[in-house]
Amino acid sequence: MNLFDIRNLSISLKSNDTDILAVDRVSLAMKEGEVRGLVGESGSGKSLLAQAIMGVLDPKWSVTADRFHWRGQDLMNLSPHERKAIIAKDVAMIFQEPMLSLDPTTTIGEQVEEAIDPASLEGNFWQRRKARKSEAIRLLHKVGIKHHEICTSSYPHELTEAICQRVMIAIALAKSPILLIADEPTAAMESRNQGQIFRLLASLNQLKSMSILLISHDLENVTHWTNTITVMYSGQFVEAGTTKQIFKSPLHPYTRALVDSSPAANIELPPKSRLKALPGSIPILQHLPIGCRLGPRCPKAQRKCVTAPKAKNYHGHVVSCHFNMKESGKV
């Protein structure tokens, strides 16, 4: 059963005279218990997409979609308020830069306690406070923080990034979510701490069967932890499939380039030769190309590419390209 199913979600920014389409008809679906990676360069709209799902986008962005199903329930028919209530109950999100995502003037203990649903506490009102405290400590233990006394009385600036991210995960776990959206949870973190956070997320996925949407700009880094991957480029859907499909037989020229550009793929290159990479850089929002937005950088671009391609499904491996590897018979 699908956990959620989003079709043709668009996010646009009302600018002075023109409408900027930052995310252009992206579809995303997840199964229960799945870890899906959402990969793309910076500025490809993956964080926007995640925030649109959570409903915490700034009001200046306008979001439209053809379908938004959550565990079989159609959320499009509900009012924004009801939709937010359902999402807030079952979905939690952790952000990049955990230190900035914690209130600098409130202690960690208070912030964790605040996230605990009062309905889940037992006992009379004078026992609530204690129950809330012990629940917060339990959550901190769960994410691997052993010295909870020091942690709960600290302010965010007194802790390291990795501990703050653990606290964020503890806060996210407070309502035992079905889906955890992790928006670049390890950006600006050392690799040792990165590993710890990813291992923690993986164990939560296996022990609690919590689905995780892992957003990252680093394809290679997430492959160890994900079952399926969705690739985005400049606000457009590129390719989705199992991690193996994406990595072993990428169908889209962009995914191919991404896989080829990773250091692991370039290990046999002679020293001091250039790494394989696409020319140019991701277009800025004010100057988006029409049709397939990869067009100007794509090695396979032809005249047909000025119209946006439709997504084609090859046994669960979805790709959005006129001249994908399957079409041109390379795979």
């Binding site: 209130d103 003037t105 409130t106 605040e114 996230a115």
Partner: protein, 342 residues
């Protein structure tokens, strides 16, 4: 926290040092004899002047003279007024509490009104209420205080006769003086008409305090609005929303405190501004405070009074500044602890 306190204390000592240097040098910069300027003895004969020169150390170096002067100031010997021949310490200790009372009440009014209104404007950003609040704040900031004061007297005292137009309290009440701050003295006194006196003093206080508070309140509105808008953009507010907290909860438990931190930093600065407005308002409302007395002293070229009045008034402003810094540290854990690399 100890280091924070020591740093503030250090700043305090240096500022007092510079203020006394300024006040000391004024005696030489004002026209007339420096000894007369510093002591206020205008009509002294040769013998008294020789005695004064001895006590101010006129035969010694300028540095020693400064040290003697500071010693005299801190032991309470401010000299006498050139006009009234009264000891300045007595004059100031009767006048300063009235100004302290008036300005602190005005600051309180400005903050209690200005900050919540600014928060409301920020929460209703780009809506009609935001625009209305901003325009009112702009007008309130632009009108000159002497005009507002006269208009307030015209409207509330003469037309509506809601508040008295001058003075601190009606002369029929006799209040024993203890601390000099009238409202506290009334509460401490055991007069039979205590509560009547209290309400009379309050009604005398409200109008001038409100006139003084107008301009700072509009500044607080704008400060609070900017601070709140800035805080509402931060990642931790977004994260708090993602936690599932309602907007009211987010504002109440996270945004207000962080926005207050940014505002509290400015209290000290705004207070200096407020005192300037208070001095003019004291003249308009015949408030028996140090501001009115200082302006009168300037008119009458009472150089001794000007020197000491400036010193006392700026010390008062600076003490409030330091207190607001402590409030800032109490609110902000980042300012309290030791910082890396500082």
């Amino acid at each position: 926290m100890l280091i924070f306190t020591l740093r503030r204390l250090n700043l305090f000592i240096f500022t007092i040092f510079l203020l006394t240097v300024l006040s000391f040098s004024l005696a030489f910069l004002f026209p007339g004899d420096a000894l007369v300027n510093i002591s206020g003895q205008v009509s002294a004969n040769q013998e008294v002047l020789a005695e004064l020169a001895q006590s101010y150390g006129k035969d010694q170096s300028i540095f020693n003279q400064y040290v003697i002067y500071v010693g005299k100031v801190f032991s309470g010997d401010f000299g006498v007024s050139m006009i009234s021949d009264l000891p300045l310490l007595d004059v100031i200790s009767t006048l300063l509490p009235a100004t302290v009372e008036l300005s602190l009440v005005a600051l309180l009014i400005a903050m209690v009104l200005g900050i919540p209104i600014g928060f409301i404007a920020a929460i209703r950003h780009r809506k009609n209420s935001d625009n209305i609040i901003l325009s009112i704040a702009m007008i309130g900031y632009s009108v000159p205080v002497f005009w507002v004061g006269l208009m307030a007297i015209q409207l509330f005292s003469i037309e509506l006769s809601m508040f008295p137009s001058a003075g601190q309290i009606s002369p029929v009440y006799e209040i024993e003086r203890q601390y000099g701050i009238l409202l506290i003295d009334i509460l401490l006194s055991d007069s039979n008409y205590k509560w009547q006196a209290f309400s009379d003093a309050t009604s005398h206080l409200i109008l001038p305090a409100a006139v003084i508070a107008l301009a700072p309140a509009t500044i607080f509105i704008r400060l609070a609005r900017t601070a709140m808008l800035e805080v509402l953009e931060t990642p931790y507010i977004r994260a708090a929303k993602a936690k599932g907290l309602s907007f009211a909860q987010v504002v109440y438990s996270h945004a207000i405190r962080n926005a207050l931190i940014m505002i509290v930093r400015h209290i000290g600065l705004q207070f200096a501004n407020l005192i300037t407005i208070a001095m003019i308002t004291e003249v308009i409302f015949s408030w028996p405070g140090i501001g009115r007395w200082l302006i009168e002293s300037i008119y009458q070229r009472d150089y001794t009074a000007i020197q000491i009045g400036l010193l006392v008034l700026s010390s008062f402003i600076f003490i409030v500044h330091i207190l607001s810094d402590f409030l800032y540290a109490a609110l902000n854990p980042l300012a309290r602890g030791k910082k890396y690399g500082s």
